[in-house]
């Protein structure tokens, strides 16, 4: 332990603790702007400066570790003045156009300005005159609002390993954009939206499509169908001042009905469907000398990454579509038949924790398997929260309702798709059954849960060992892929049979379209919310979802049937990393 003094208060901290974290222990929240707990301190903004005895300059609390005998002053009139000047300088490069900003009332810069009582900016305002990049369907990059804190770049490069964003220019012309001035669409961007989730201001944000949804809801002849992804239910409450992880499934169904949707379904249903298809596919590969490992494909950002950076794994990818796309496909076919609605009149909206899902809806031709675009539009959790607010719905106080049958019924396995390890756990629950025709006594696979970057486990299916691995946060995947490549090159047996990958830290609960401010603490709470949903589910295995059984009986036949292939499976191709 290291003993130090902060503002005269002695304390002991673990080696490697930053002054910023140490100060929290004695009740001081040092103001900060560029620092984010997900990232190595980049130390750009200069807001968190403190005095350390013996140092002539002020030191950054985020990037300076506690040292034995250190005496830190976190605030005095001089420190506060320096911080204010730096803040005023930053504000002099920012539009300060809060009412028109997507981060209004939820902006870290705005909060700081409020705390420092900034009433005027003494310096001339200079704002980059660069138009916003609206080239992707998922996110918008607005250089005018950028304060060059560097978070998006650290996220894109270090956390995600994508390198779509880079520092361009230097000095006052420094800006965050794809290398060589490509647009985001032309860049390696995988649309995960983690940049937008980490941006402290409104410089990168989801492409808002709520007006399109309102437009569809307004049309009399449109039959509007909505689905909500598993991770949405444990995070949307945050937008209404609730604790992270609060399970709001019933309120969501109710709110969506009040918004005017004709049918309210749940992506958890199609997650169960995915397990039947993908699980069967796995059993087929595993027992029939197919290409292994099988790799999950429900995450569109991961799919996009693979199609650009890891094309040697195309044969390993499960051909099963993601739950979002499966629901769209069965809604415009099976549900259309059942409800006697013409698919051309049906409008399928999905509410996702994810910005890449906006891209997925038109990713390739197989996304139109119903003869129409299966999912018309995907909006994020953040967008739905805004729609609920626009409608004046008292979200917290809503009585819980049920989803519509039958595309709204789900098992616990479906709901855990929202967390890292969840797809794997759900698949294993059913794979066990598919192989042995028996059910597991304990359906919990603790080894694949949690926030560790890569998790590996060996599962004993009645004497047959299945080796699985789970990776989340895109930057963690390469090491795992290299392990497989290595074995492949050496002609060795594959180290894993089944791999789950999710692009965002923590899985979809940490998605790029979720309410802002996610940290590991918040991710853990959302994760706990998901597992509680699983635990209280009547059935915890996809193959026991009665509506899944019904849809196969009524419509699809059996997993991997011809019809299932037409509607529920897709394919992959190599894409250029840079289109430019």
């Amino acid at each position: 332990m290291i003993e130090l003094e902060i503002n005269g208060i002695a304390l002991n901290v673990e080696p490697g603790t930053s002054i910023l974290d140490a100060a929290k222990m004695v009740g001081v929240n040092i103001p900060k702007l560029c620092y984010h707990s997900d990232l190595e301190p980049w130390a750009a903004c200069g807001i968190c400066v403190v005095k350390v005895e013996g140092s002539p300059k002020m030191l950054r609390a985020c990037a300076t570790n506690a040292a034995p005998g250190m005496k830190v002053i976190t605030h005095d009139p001089e420190i506060v003045t320096v911080r204010r000047t730096v803040l005023e300088l930053i504000l002099s490069t920012h539009p300060n156009d809060c009412v028109r900003c997507p981060r209004n009332r939820n902006c870290e810069l705005q909060t700081l300005a409020e705390e420092f009582g900034i009433r005027e900016i003494p310096y001339d305002i200079r704002i980059r005159d660069i138009p916003a990049d609206t080239s992707t369907t998922s996110i918008v990059l607005n250089p005018k609002a950028c304060i060059a804190c560097g978070r998006c770049i650290k996220v894109c490069q270090d956390m995600q390993g994508v390198w779509a964003l880079e520092f361009l220019g230097r000095g006052e012309n420094t800006r965050m954009a794809p290398a060589a001035d490509a647009t985001l669409e032309e860049s390696p961007c995988i649309k995960c939206g983690q940049c937008s989730a980490h941006c402290p201001v409104g410089a990168i944000y989801e492409k808002d499509q709520t007006l399109d949804v309102w437009g569809a809801l307004q049309e009399d002849d449109k039959h509007c169908v909505v689905q909500i992804a598993p991770a949405v239910r444990v995070a949307i409450g945050e937008a209404f001042g609730m604790e992270p992880g609060e399970l709001m499934t019933g309120q969501l169904y109710a709110a969506l009905r009040r918004l005017g949707f004709d049918a309210v379904f749940d992506t958890n249903f199609s997650a169960d469907l995915t397990i039947l298809e993908e699980g069967t596919e796995f059993v087929k590969r595993f027992t029939g000398n197919g290409v292994l490992p099988q790799i999950t494909s429900c995450c569109p950002a991961w799919t996009d990454y693979m199609e650009k950076y890891a094309t040697d794994f195309i044969p390993n990818f499960s051909s099963a579509k993601s739950p979002q796309q499966m629901l769209g496909a069965v809604a415009k076919t099976y549900y259309a038949e059942q409800s006697e609605v013409k698919p051309e009149n049906m409008y399928v909206v999905s509410v996702m924790p994810c910005t890449a899902k906006k891209f997925e809806v038109s990713r390739c031709e197989t996304m139109d398997s119903s003869g129409f675009q299966d999912v018309d539009i995907a909006i994020t959790t953040r967008e739905l929260a805004r729609m609920i607010k626009q409608a004046g719905i008292d979200f917290k106080g809503l009585p819980a309702e049920e989803a519509d049958s039958l595309l709204g019924v789900y098992s616990g396995a479906g709901t855990i798709f929202g967390v890292t390890g969840g797809v794997m756990e759900a698949a294993l629950r059913s794979a066990y059954y598919l192989i042995t025709k028996e059910d597991l006594e304990d359906v919990n696979f603790m080894d694949v849960r949690g926030l560790e970057g890569v998790k590996a486990a060996e599962v004993d299916i009645k004497g047959t060992k299945v080796r699985v691995a789970v990776a989340h946060q895109m930057g963690n995947v390469e090491a795992l892929l290299d392990q497989i490549r290595d074995a492949r090159e050496k002609g060795l047996e594959t180290p894993y049979h089944f791999i789950e990958v999710m692009a965002c830290r923590g899985g979809c609960i940490g998605g790029g379209g979720q309410p802002h401010g996610a940290t590991d603490e918040i991710r853990m709470k959302r994760t706990a919310g998901i597992y509680s949903d699983d635990e209280k589910s009547v059935t915890r295995c996809s193959h026991h979802n009665p509506m899944i059984t019904k849809i196969y009986e009524d419509f699809l036949g059996e997993p991997l049937s011809h019809k299932a292939h037409e509607l529920l499976h897709t394919d992959y191709k190599e894409r250029k990393v840079y289109k430019k």
């Binding site: 200069g46 320096v82 000047t85 490069t93 310096y123 560097g150 230097r170 000095g171 420094t174």
Partner: protein
Amino acid sequence: MKFSHEDLNLHRDTLRAGKTVTQVLVGMGTCGIAAGAKTAFQSLKKSISENALQVEVELKQTGCLGLCFSEPTVEVKSVNGTSTVYGNVDTAFAERIVKEHLSTGIALSEHVYETPAADLFDPEAEPLKQKRIVLRNCGFMDPEKIDEYIAREGYAALSKAIATMTGDDIIEELKTSGLRGRGGAGFPCWQKWGFSKDTDSDQKYIVCNADEGDPGAYMDRSVLEGDPHTVLEAMALAGYTIGANQGYIYIRAEYPLAIERLNMAIEQAKERGLLGQNILGSAFSFEIELRLGAGAFVCGEETALLASIEGKRGMPIPRPPFPSVKGLWGKPTVINNVETSANIPMIILKGGAWYAEIGTASSKGTKVFAVTGKIKNSGLIEVPMGSTLREIIYDICGGIEGGKRFKAAQTGGPSGGCITAGFLDVPIDYESLQSIGSMMGSGGMIVMDEDDCMVDVTKFYLEFTVDESCGKCAPCRVGGRTCYDILDRITKGLGEPDDIQKLTDIGHAMRKASLCGLGQTAPNPVMSTIKYFEEEYHAHIHDKKCPTGKCKSMVTYTINDLCIGCRLCARACPVDCIAGEAKELHLIDQSQCIKCGLCFDNCKFEAIDRT
């Protein structure tokens, strides 16, 4: 052939024996070559051969002699030890040197570099203002020949260290010497080496920071061009001390001659077994490679430099951890700049105590300055720490050009501050410069006279740092730009009463909250000119006047009754905006005037008013 310790000593003795010819040295650093040294060299060569003097005379190139104002320079060293330095040598004069001086042995009286050359080349001359340790070989030997370096004690320190000293001995010697980093901050060299030595690691690195970027500073280039081996030797010494076997020289690509000579030197040293595997037959191996920088000033900052070597964008990261503990690719890395390195072989050879006798209590040894600006003899000088500005400017560099009044000297380049006339007699060392608001920096020294506007000069420096800011941290990125804008307004007559306060506020925040030295020191010119020349700011802001007339927006030229209509001003005017018949009063068209001041300079009748 790869040398052993004994081979090296024998070789040195052989080289030293039998030097009995007259030597003609042509200063062929980039500066000399740009001024025409290659032509002078060829003329000398041709003429020597025409006069059949090849046997009696040895013609050779050497590094920069430091006499920038009189390039190309040629030194004739006669057999009896006398030396004559000729400046501004063109083809015709080169021929005369050969025909008259070399043929007869009698020096010419023209083009001779007068005082203060004496103390440069004649150790007996009094008073001895300069002392050459770093530049000991620059201008004395051919930098492209390792033998010349070996003859001048080259690699003797490395040999001594490997044969007789441990790493701790070397660090102890450096500690005794008191050598501090010459790159700017003045961190004790022995401590850096000590940290790296004491950090356990499978791999350690030595990096030489040759990313010299201050405007007006070129001491590192001169050392690299004039004495490349000394840097290699110092790096090998560092490698031996801390247990590193790989070194990198990070040098800007704008220094092609230095790069060429370094590459040549590395090759030659490897051939002799003075670099590479098993140096001097010992177990110690050390390789050196060059890494070229693209010219960003911030890459002189050590963490940005390391990022650049690693192939990343050159942006600083916070310290600690310091590179000596966690540097290149996360491994302990000693980074020394060129000038620091050039001291090290001499310290090892002559001992730390010898070195510690030179300089002041806290700053030991010498310092090289590149003196430029309004100075009579601009050039590269090396003086003991503790010399005064007066000695440098008046005794060594011949005073202010045109007999004008000294106003201020800027040390430390754009990161430093100005030193005013009141501090001319302050002994210069790290601490004293800091106490008067400037800094040692890398050793650029720009002298300003009464004609220089301090607000304008400050704007010039800010323009540089704004341009060179990497853009990472907000205080530097935005603060520098904002200060520049304010200064720009002031020099255009648009200053506002609270501008000085704003400049001071921003300057303070930049000093305290910028991430690296660039941002922390960028406001120094602002802060120091406000401190010493506040009245000039007031004149600009409140009276809308530039006292020196440098700020063109605030100057008006008018013609008064003393005009006799001589047409001199009208002919001088580059934009033809002066009208008037001969012998009649002339008139300046103010709407066209670009305020260049040529009319004012050309008028012989004091008929032009500058207000």
